[in-house]
Symmetry: C2
Subunit: 270 residues, 2 copies
Amino acid sequence: MSAGQLLIIGGAEEKIHDGEVLSKFVELAGDKNSRIGILPTASEIPDDVSSDYIHTFKQLGVVRVEVINVATRECAEDPSIMELIDSLSAVFITGGDQSRLSELIGGTKLHETLMEKWKKGMVLAGTSAGASIMAKQMIVAADTKLNDDKLTVKLGTGFGFLDHVLIDQHFSQRARFDRLLSAIADNTEIIGIGIDENTAILVHDNKFKVYGEHQVLVMDGKSSNYVNVKVSENGSEELTISGFQLHTLTKGYSFDLANRKLILEKGIQE
Amino acid sequence: MSAGQLLIIGGAEEKIHDGEVLSKFVELAGDKNSRIGILPTASEIPDDVSSDYIHTFKQLGVVRVEVINVATRECAEDPSIMELIDSLSAVFITGGDQSRLSELIGGTKLHETLMEKWKKGMVLAGTSAGASIMAKQMIVAADTKLNDDKLTVKLGTGFGFLDHVLIDQHFSQRARFDRLLSAIADNTEIIGIGIDENTAILVHDNKFKVYGEHQVLVMDGKSSNYVNVKVSENGSEELTISGFQLHTLTKGYSFDLANRKLILEKGIQE
């Protein structure tokens, strides 16, 4: 049995009846037969966020939508939550702050259950903070270089459905190129993936395909022969790097994470 | 006789007595023996801009500082201006709008004279708009993808001291990665160079070396095997590209523009 598909969304996906990204999620979950769980723990206003998604998923024809209410680590150990997860065909992890997800769920029974269910084929989706949490490595804090010249990237530990990948979201819209480059310069074995808003990657079998409106950027430092990270007195990082590989993809294109290249064979792109 | 050195500055260079970038310019110009001309045509407030630089260059020990007042194409054909240029050891092109430089000076006698003098060894520097104008190709207008999702890059013609190079400035500080990538995707034979504020490249003999506080990014699409630029209905560009090479450099590092790689031999870096 192979692991489930992961739909990783760059935030701000259209919550309308024909929004491409969420429609894809519902299709993967099993359409009208699906039972979808919303995990809003990243958000400080989980009820509001959940209501929005319940409304959207119902618009998309899903009858059975559940909220996975986990506001403490105790909740994340509660057997009733595991029973709920067990009944679902797909889980949607909302936006908010990815640190809340790792602090409240990382290492708990819920985390373990999600991993087990996913390995057996359950579909998982996450947007914004819910996208960042998907990989083992995640960016938890960073200023940008915009205007104030400061950049300090801090990494944390995500749920680990992917390894050797670092997901960033709201990518072009929040000008996060510098922070992803900085993170990858510090960890050249990891592939950086910057996902724009209302855009998603569907990951399966070490490949991903792009859905949605904008662009996905892939940053690969593996073949670099030189990296030197200089941290200035004010904490800003300035980089000297040689020969990073850069790829960008739009809707319909696919990327091979194992071989680190754009897939150009016909038939693979829709 | 070889062409003069070009000091290309990403804008907002420190105008203080020990500012590294402008100190380097004054050194190249011949220190106290230099005669520096300030060309403020890019600016809508040329007198204010010129005063600032006169003050700074005098602080740096330069006695002879002249302003090259060119506000019309007629001025740019005036023999007295050519006489002035002929008396200078270096010209500093200020910031403002690079389109003003191309509209008021491009193709005039002044343009031709600067080119001739530079080919005989005169030092040229430009900051911000004055940096963009240095190459044959330049970005004249572009929205960013920041917040509003729109990106349309328009290219114009610069003074052409460099060819097959596209200079962008205020690079990290104004989050211009997307616009440079878009421009290079449209013109993969051109090398994109994004220069941060208070940072400069000194170009000579098809190599450059970095001076100043921050970072210089080099974007090279020459070895890419796939580029597809999609323009959406609202004019935004979304890119699919494969295998662009990316380099970043800080103070003391050098880049070989002919071979498109970071120079790592000892002795070349200071």
